[in-house]
C-alpha cells in the first residue's frame, strides 16, 4: 500500500503513515479552519489500510496544539484504529505529551477513556 506523507505547516500536522516501514505518526499543530477537509484524506487512507493492516500497528500521536473541530476528527481516526484492533489485528497507540502540557495529557486520558484499543500516554522530558 502506498504510504501517506503530508508535510507539516504552521496550522496542519505532519502525517507520516508508512506501512512498509511500520511507522505511523501524526505530529505538530492541527488548527485548520476546514479540519473536516484536511482529515478526510487521512480517514479514507486508514479505511483502506484497515482492509489489510500490518500484524502490529504502532501509531504515534505527538501533537502540539489542536482546535475543537480537529479533536472530533482525531477521535474518528482513533475509532478507526480501534476498529482495526477489534477485527483481530494488534494496534497500539502512543499519545505523547510535553512535560509542561497538562492539557495534552488530559486530552490523551479523555481519548483513552473513550476507547477499547490500547492507548499509552508517554511524557516527553527535555
Amino acid at each position: 500500500m502506498e504510504p501517506l506523507k503530508i508535510e507539516p505547516t504552521h496550522k496542519t500536522p505532519k502525517v507520516y503513515f508508512a506501512p512498509q516501514e511500520n511507522v505511523f505518526e501524526l505530529s505538530g499543530r492541527s488548527i485548520p479552519e476546514d479540519s473536516v477537509g484536511f482529515y478526510k484524506h487521512i480517514l479514507d487512507w486508514i479505511d483502506d489500510y484497515g482492509k489489510s493492516p500490518n500484524s502490529l500497528t504502532e501509531f504515534n500521536f505527538e501533537l502540539e496544539y489542536f482546535n475543537t473541530s480537529s479533536s472530533k476528527n482525531i477521535l474518528e481516526l482513533l475509532k478507526k484504529l480501534e476498529g482495526i484492533h477489534e477485527s483481530g489485528h494488534n494496534v497500539k497507540i502512543y499519545w505523547y505529551y510535553d512535560e509542561d502540557d497538562e492539557d495534552m495529557e488530559e486530552t490523551g486520558e479523555d481519548y483513552k477513556a473513550l476507547l477499547s484499543v490500547p492507548l499509552e500516554l508517554k511524557m516527553k522530558v527535555y
Binding site: 475543537t68 502540557d101 497538562e102 479523555d110
Partner: protein
C-alpha cells in the same frame, strides 16, 4: 509643529487624540497584548508566536506559557467559529478583539466579537450550564459532546466552551452588549491562575 488654537487654548491633536486614552485604558487595565482584526488559523499561529516570545522575555515558566497558548487557541477558535457569514451583508463588523491582561498571578484572555442576537439566549444558557458544573462533571460533559456524531457549528461551539472552561480551570466570565435586533457584541473572559501551575 502643533498649533495652539486661540479658542480652545490647547494643542491640536491632528486626529491622534484617541491614542493617549487608548494607551491609558490599556495600561490601567494591565493589558499586555491587544489585537483587533479578522481571525483565521494563520492569525492564531502568529499570535501564539508573539505571545510565546513575550512570555519568554519575561521569564515566564513553560507551564504557564503552554497553558496560556492552549487557552488562546481555544478562545480564538471560538471567535472564528462565530464568524457568521449570514451577517456579513447586514453591515456588521466581522473583526474580533483579543486582549490578554495580567494582574499579579492571573492572566486573562478576553475576546470580543459580534454574534447574531438570536443566538444570545442560547450562548448564555450554554455558558451558565458549563459554569455550574464541577471538574468531574465538565470532564463527563466534554466526553459526551466529543463523542456526538453531529458536527454542526453549535456542537463545536459547545465543545470549545467546555474545553476552554476545563483548560482555564475557572468559570468563564461573559457579557453581552445588545446593539440591534440582528447582532450583539459578545465578550468572553477565560482566566488562568499561575499559582496552581
Amino acid at each position: 509643529m502643533n498649533k495652539v488654537t486661540a479658542e480652545a487654548g490647547h494643542i491640536e491633536d491632528h486626529g491622534l487624540g484617541f491614542t493617549y486614552p487608548c494607551y491609558k485604558d490599556m495600561a490601567d487595565n494591565n493589558i499586555i497584548f491587544a489585537f483587533r482584526g479578522r481571525v483565521n488559523s494563520d492569525l492564531v499561529t502568529h499570535v501564539l508566536e508573539m505571545m510565546g516570545e513575550k512570555l519568554e522575555d519575561e521569564n515566564e515558566s513553560k507551564k504557564v506559557t503552554k497553558k496560556l497558548s492552549n487557552v488562546m487557541v481555544e478562545c480564538l477558535t471560538n471567535v472564528y467559529a462565530e464568524d457568521d457569514p449570514a451577517l456579513m451583508d447586514q453591515g456588521y463588523d466581522p473583526t474580533a478583539l483579543l486582549l490578554v491582561k495580567k494582574i499579579t498571578n492571573t492572566y486573562s484572555v478576553i475576546t470580543g466579537s459580534y454574534v447574531p442576537t438570536r443566538r444570545v439566549h442560547e450562548i448564555k444558557g450554554m455558558l451558565d450550564h458549563i459554569n455550574n458544573l464541577d471538574t468531574e462533571e465538565l470532564k463527563k460533559y466534554y466526553k459526551e459532546k466529543l463523542e456526538e456524531e453531529d458536527v454542526n457549528q453549535n456542537g463545536l461551539t459547545i465543545l470549545g466552551m467546555i474545553d476552554l472552561a476545563r483548560k482555564s480551570r475557572h468559570n468563564l466570565i461573559y457579557h453581552f452588549k445588545h446593539e440591534n435586533k440582528n447582532y450583539t457584541y459578545f465578550m468572553l473572559e477565560a482566566q488562568i491562575s499561575t499559582k496552581t501551575l
